[in-house]
């Protein structure tokens, strides 16, 4: 069974938001909401400033706090790909998963259930890339099986310096940022 993950090269990302628009189109995300977004982080004092642009979304954690707190099992980890998904007709809208997510990656869909990035499971379970990865004009995003040493994502993680967001939360995020 694969364990899907994503590697994003912050040295290539220009923050064009193509990934955001592609996601909203592909997944019919309601207007005013987003499953992925661009974060720009500036550090330092002029003239010694560094800037990082990141495409962010649900980290599909190895130890997802949103799944363990769910009272109905609506939030769950799919066997294939170990992707974290929400079964809408099991969700009661208690919002515990939203409170539990250190990345604030979830929101309440206007229809009432908790919603978030699915790693485009309808595409990726058939071997395709998620919409955001497929459209990225700078090819800064890579998707694949982290447990397969021959996959592109594994190769990048072996050869490039990288980090995850808020590793101190202990949830084991599976989106890696090349720095």
């Amino acid at each position: 069974m694969p364990r899907f993950g994503m590697v994003i090269d912050t040295r290539k990302c220009v923050g064009c938001m193509d990934c955001v628009v592609a996601c909203q189109t592909e997944n019919d995300v309601p207007r005013g909401y987003c499953r992925d977004w661009i974060t720009t982080e500036v550090r330092g004092d002029f003239p010694h400033i560094t800037m990082e642009i990141r495409s962010e979304r649900c980290n599909h954690c190895d130890n997802p706090s949103c799944v363990s707190c769910c009272p109905t099992g609506a939030s769950h980890v799919e066997d294939y790909g170990k992707v974290v998904l929400v079964t809408a007709n099991k969700c009661i809208g208690c919002k515990a998963c939203i409170a539990a997510c250190p990345y604030d990656a979830r929101f309440i869909h206007p229809d009432g259930y908790a919603d978030k990035c699915t790693f485009c499971y309808h595409r990726t379970k058939d071997g395709k890339d998620p919409a955001c990865v497929a459209v990225c004009p700078t090819h800064c995003m890579h998707f694949g099986d982290l447990d397969d040493p021959k996959s592109k994502v594994s190769e990048l993680l072996r050869t490039r310096k990288h980090r995850t967001l808020l590793p101190e939360a202990g949830t084991g995020p599976r989106i890696f940022y090349l720095t």
């Binding site: 550090r43 099991k90 539990a100 604030d104 929101f107």
Partner: protein, 348 residues
């Protein structure tokens, strides 16, 4: 300097998490209150089982009042849900890792135990109902004739009260993303706050005086059943004093637990210290120091101490303050907790 700009704009998430409004603090407060009342009622019922009826007054109507209050709390909880039609899904599964799942099942048992406990004296407390449903009297007599059953019911009240009082704290405690809640002290703190609120509520309910014996009518009888001590005489002074003494102990323990919570947070990671500052010196400081520590604990502690020393007459003021403080504790923890977040420690 560290400057973050995000294009995310999800309602209730940005600019600051605001998923839980008034409903959750109301439920946490009423749940804690009912938990405290169940423990107190259970302890009084143990006395009934031993044949000592002298302190039974608050064991009789307490389960009924608690039943009404838990329904109000559950109503608030239901209003908070955004996918309401699917609420039954909670009862198709048991998720051992989810405190909310544990709580949902505990609440079901709480309902049954509260109703069974209320039955002990319901026909006597609410004659209108007793006359129309003679079976209630039969059941009540059957229960009272079997001290072992009353004892079992008493222990069920105590154990479930502890579970109900503590699980809400554990629920918040498990949310790693909100550092203000990441303390195991939160469970016991909510439990003792619930106990002091429970004692205050029982005290308040017994202050209401109706004509004795209980009114015969449907509505008057129902209200009296909720809050009027049975019997021709008001509760003995030493019984009321016992309740106040218990409340003093609960409040003192609550104060220690609040201190431990702050010590716990301030001596943990940067995220926890920043979160603690939200209530100690930040935007929630006025409610924390003024509403919870001051008016909710210290003032009622002092007033009840003076009452026990017979320096001032008994009033309902401390009980009202304890209840307001109990609600403020839930309100501050829910809101400040949502405002707290993990502080990023790693560089780029």
């Amino acid at each position: 300097m560290r400057e973050l700009t995000t294009t995310r704009h999800n309602p209730m998430i940005d600019p600051q998490l605001a998923i839980w409004s008034w409903e959750i603090p109301v439920y946490l407060f009423l749940g804690g209150l009912v938990a405290g009342m169940m423990i107190l009622a259970g302890m009084a019922m143990l006395r009934i089982a031993r044949g000592d009826d002298s302190r039974s007054f608050f064991s009789l109507q307490t389960p009924l009042l608690a039943f009404v209050l838990i329904n109000l709390g559950m109503g608030a909880l239901f209003l908070d849900l955004t996918h309401k039609l699917y609420v039954w899904r909670v009862y198709l599964t048991f998720e051992p890792a989810s405190p909310m799942s544990w709580g949902s099942w505990v609440l079901i048992v709480v309902y049954g135990v509260l109703l069974a406990s209320a039955l002990i004296r319901l026909p006597e407390a609410w004659p209108w109902l007793g006359r129309r449903m003679p079976v209630l009297q039969t059941l009540s007599d059957a229960l009272l004739a079997r001290p072992m059953l009353v004892k079992a019911l008493a222990w069920a009240n105590i154990v479930l009260g502890v579970a109900l009082g503590i699980y809400t704290g554990i629920l918040l405690n498990t949310m790693v993303a909100r550092p203000l809640w990441n303390s195991a002290i939160l469970g016991p703190l909510f439990l003792f706050s619930g106990l002091s609120a429970g004692a205050a509520m029982v005290h308040l309910a017994n202050v209401v005086r109706f004509d004795r014996p209980a009114p015969d009518g449907m509505i008057g009888g129902a209200i009296a059943a909720l809050c009027q001590p049975l019997g021709r005489e008001p509760p003995a002074r030493n019984t009321v004093d016992g309740l106040i003494r218990a409340d003093v102990a609960f409040l003192a323990i609550e104060l220690v637990l609040i201190g431990l919570l702050l010590a716990n947070l301030y001596t943990s990671s940067a995220s926890h210290a920043v979160a603690a500052a939200l209530i100690v010196s930040g935007p929630y400081a006025w409610a924390f120091w003024g509403g919870i520590v001051g008016l909710g604990v210290l003032v009622p502690l002092a007033l009840q101490g003076l009452e026990l020393g017979q320096r001032i007459p008994h009033t309902v003021v401390p009980a009202l303050l304890v209840l307001a403080g109990g609600f403020t504790l839930r309100w501050v923890m829910v809101n400040a907790g949502q405002a707290s977040h993990v502080v990023q420690a790693t560089g780029m």
